[in-house]
């Protein structure tokens, strides 16, 4: 798959919806190539019978719906659109090595060249390099004209190298697809191995990491091929007696009941599973046994060398024991282990690495083996993560979870790093890709090291966050929150929480969301709206006579008609309605509000305030002191002004001042006086 396309697919998985402009900014600068990429992806989606990525031609918005997202997820997960015409040299070496280990046919140079689709000459160069690699490990690459190529050496060493190569291929992008397309795998067998592994997890109450549940079946399958195709038998470098009795090994060996392998090979396979990193395990760990004592000594030693105190050491002890269980199998049986973060960690935390290196000798003594650099880094990561742990706070603005395909130590460090970075996010924990769905609904964000099929906002992060990566993720989150009114409001409410009455939380939050949700235009409009009608001389009228209400109304309406604010029809309607419902058309005590609807003939908003010095009897038989004739231009514009007037009328002092005003100026002084605070709500 072209990098451009995979970048784009990843972007869409992370963002769910977007716009052409945003994509151009972030992924693909060229409009034409963006269109080409989307066409490619859509072609695939159509084949899969899924909905395509839609671009709104009007506004450039890109919509990704549920079905599309799932399709995109599978594109990345299984490398569906991958081009296999070219295989990089390192990948070729690994694939050739694997081939040589699982075949008993002793392939000729041409066979190997065809396999990885290069010329004979290139294949020969590859094989030369392989020969060098192998000789370093005391394994021989043999060639005879008659018999072709083969590897020979101690089976233990070959298997170790073999597994390393498989894991290397699987770790590379589309590694699985390479193995599959070169015909190394049988999908059905792999599927069954995977199912059996999942059953084993239940039986032994362990949870393998996602990475393991994906990779182990492949490793086991290829190992079985190796065992079947080579006559060499495996000689354990160590005494199996004490292990053989272990219930776990016996249980795991039954996983391979139909493989026709001898008992020792089955043990070897079982050890592969047992030595794999696990997320959790309830395998009994006695706290009084030797190992646990040794670990405690190590923890205490580390503690004295650190500037900070390690909190909750018993919990840390359990954590380390959980990790050590499979690790001990690896260490004692010298099984291959890859910790991709080894060098990076040592570079970033040299002091921590040094302290751990100095402090593990009690454990080494206990297991009677020395701990490799990779394993040391794993231990250091667990303890570093522990230091990041701070006292849990009670309140958070957001909830998030972490999805990590790697084992406990990697995901723990990632989790704690993130916790440390975002004090306002409550982290539910680190989960395997297979398990995060159970908690998906409870969170606002997901931090993941792999693309996920989820409607939640996902941030793809590296398993190891260095300074630059931390900055990048912080920016990404800020940006996301800034574009999301609800989340922005929550962040703001959280920030102000000490100053907000707790029971008003939701209310304040809703208000802020309201505010953010209004587009800039609307906000402008609203602020214009909220401006009160500015009353001028011509809006204020006085009436000294005691006349019929119709005449009084006519007197107040006349200026509206002459200003062209209303039509004859509007005034007609107004009389009709007011006669019928005057008792409902109030704006204060003894204040009447005759009005009709905008559609009855209003050209522009207008008011007439008629101050009746002598009370005038209204249709409802009561007396009016003030009549406010309203010409509403729409359904909302007048509301702030009416509320303002209502407030004035309800206050005895201002009401009296208006009623007893000697002239328009006096009345206007009161009416146009801005009250403290926003009269509009």
């Amino acid at each position: 798959m072209k990098k451009e396309v995979s970048d784009l697919v990843l972007y869409f998985l992370e963002h769910h919806s977007s716009s052409v402009t945003a994509v151009e900014e972030e992924v693909c600068r060229n409009k034409r190539s963006l269109q080409a990429c989307i066409d490619d992806v859509n072609q695939y989606l159509i084949k899969e019978n899924r909905e395509v990525i839609r671009i709104d031609t009007m506004n450039g918005n890109i919509t990704i719906n549920e079905s599309t997202r799932e399709g995109l997820y599978y594109i990345l997960k299984h490398g569906k659109m991958i081009e296999l015409n070219y295989i990089a040299p390192e990948m070729r070496e690994s694939l050739l090595l694997i081939k040589l280990c699982i075949t008993d046919e002793n392939p000729a140079l041409q066979d190997l060249a065809d396999l990885v689709q290069v010329s004979k000459n290139t294949a020969l160069q590859d094989l030369k390099r392989i020969k060098n690699i192998l000789s370093e490990k005391l394994i021989e690459l043999n060639y005879t004209r008659k018999n072709g190529y083969s590897v020979s050496g101690e089976e233990f060493k070959i298997r170790k190298l073999f597994i390393e190569e498989i894991k290397r291929v699987l770790a590379a992008q589309f590694g699985f697809s390479f193995l599959w397309r070169l015909g190394f795998l049988n999908k059905e067998d792999i599927f069954f191995l995977r199912q059996r592994l999942i059953n084993m997890e239940k039986k032994l109450s362990i949870a393998l990491t996602d990475e393991q549940i994906d990779d182990l079946p492949v490793v086991l399958y290829l190992l079985i091929q190796r065992m079947k195709h080579s006559n060499a038998s495996w000689q354990a470098e160590f005494d199996l007696a004490d292990m053989e009795q272990s219930n776990e090994i016996q249980t795991l060996k039954r996983m391979f009941w139909d493989s026709h392998l001898d008992d020792e090979d089955k043990t070897y396979l079982a050890l592969q599973v047992l030595s794999s990193n696990m997320l959790e395990s309830v395998l009994a760990i006695s706290s009084s046994n030797e190992l646990s004592m040794a670990v405690r000594t190590t923890i205490d030693m580390v503690d004295t060398q650190l500037a900070t105190n390690l909190l909750n050491k018993t919990e840390l002890l359990t954590k380390i024991l959980l990790h050590l269980r499979p690790a001990i199998y690896r260490i004692r049986f010298n099984l291959p282990i890859q910790n991709p973060l080894t060098e990076q960690f040592i570079a970033e935390y040299p002091a921590m690495f040094a302290i751990i290196s100095k402090s593990v000798f009690p454990i080494e003594k206990c297991i009677d083996a020395s701990i490799s650099k990779e394993e040391l880094v794993y231990l250091a990561m667990i303890i570093q993560a522990w230091i990041y742990r701070t006292e849990e706070k009670q309140e958070y603005a957001f909830r998030a979870l972490v999805v990590c395909r790697n084992g406990t130590s990697v995901s723990k460090l990632l989790l704690e790093t993130l916790k440390d970075m975002f004090s306002h996010i409550q982290f539910m924990g680190a989960y395997a890709e297979r398990h995060f769905k159970e908690h998906e609904q409870e969170v606002d964000f997901i931090f993941s090291t792999v693309p996920l099929n989820t409607p939640k906002k996902t941030f793809i992060v590296k398993p190891f966050l260095n300074r630059a990566a931390r900055l990048e993720i912080r920016n990404a989150i800020d940006k996301h929150i800034n574009h999301n009114a609800d989340k922005k409001a929550r962040e703001l409410t959280y920030y102000l929480k000490e100053h907000i009455n707790e029971e008003n939380y939701q209310f304040v939050h809703d208000k802020i969301v309201d505010f953010f949700n209004k587009s800039p235009n609307l906000k402008m409009e609203r602020s214009t709206n909220s401006r009160l009608f500015s009353f001028k001389k011509e809006h204020i009228l006085f009436l000294d006579e005691t006349i019929h209400w119709q005449d009084a109304l006519a007197f107040a309406i006349k200026p509206l008609l002459s200003r062209g604010s209303i039509t004859k029809n509007y005034s007609q309607k107004l009389y009709e309605i007011f006669e019928r419902e005057s008792d409902r058309m109030m704006l204060g005590p003894h204040v009447y509000l005759p009005h009709a609807q905008p559609s009855d003939g209003v050209h522009k908003q207008d008011f007439s305030i008629l101050i009746c010095r002598n009370q005038i009897q209204m249709p409802d038989t009561r007396f009016a002191k003030i009549i406010v004739v309203l010409a509403p231009s729409d359904y909302h514009l007048h509301v702030p002004t009416l509320l303002h007037l209502n407030e004035l009328f309800l206050e005895e002092d201002s009401f009296n001042k208006i009623v007893s005003a000697l002239n328009t100026e006096d009345a206007l002084k009161i009416i146009n006086k801005e009250k403290g605070g926003d009269p509009h709500e």
Partner: protein
């Protein structure tokens, strides 16, 4: 959140103004509610999903939900009583 609806029969100004005023009063009292001015023609429909009806029009029929006098909020006459009733209805 509970919903309060305000409806008036003829004009447009009164129900809008009462709704705004009620919102403001509720805010000041720290009571959360959704206050809406609605068209009298679709009142029956709104009544079903609302908790309190503030009437400005003359009641033509009885409704199942508590009904308050909207004019009180404008004239100030009986406003205190109606406000107390409203708040206790929304808090219950």
């Amino acid at each position: 959140m509970k919903t309060v609806i305000v409806a008036c029969g003829s004009g447009v100004a009164t129900s809008q103004t009462v709704a705004s005023k009620v919102k403001k009063i509720l805010n000041e009292n720290g009571v959360k509610a959704n206050v809406e001015a609605v068209d009298i023609k679709s009142l029956d429909q709104y009544i079903k999903t609302s908790h309190v009806y503030i009437a400005i029009t003359k009641a033509k029929k009885e409704y199942d939900i508590p009904t308050l006098n909207g004019i009180a909020f404008l004239t100030g006459m009986g406003m205190k009583e109606e406000t107390e009733k409203l708040i206790s209805l929304l808090k219950s």
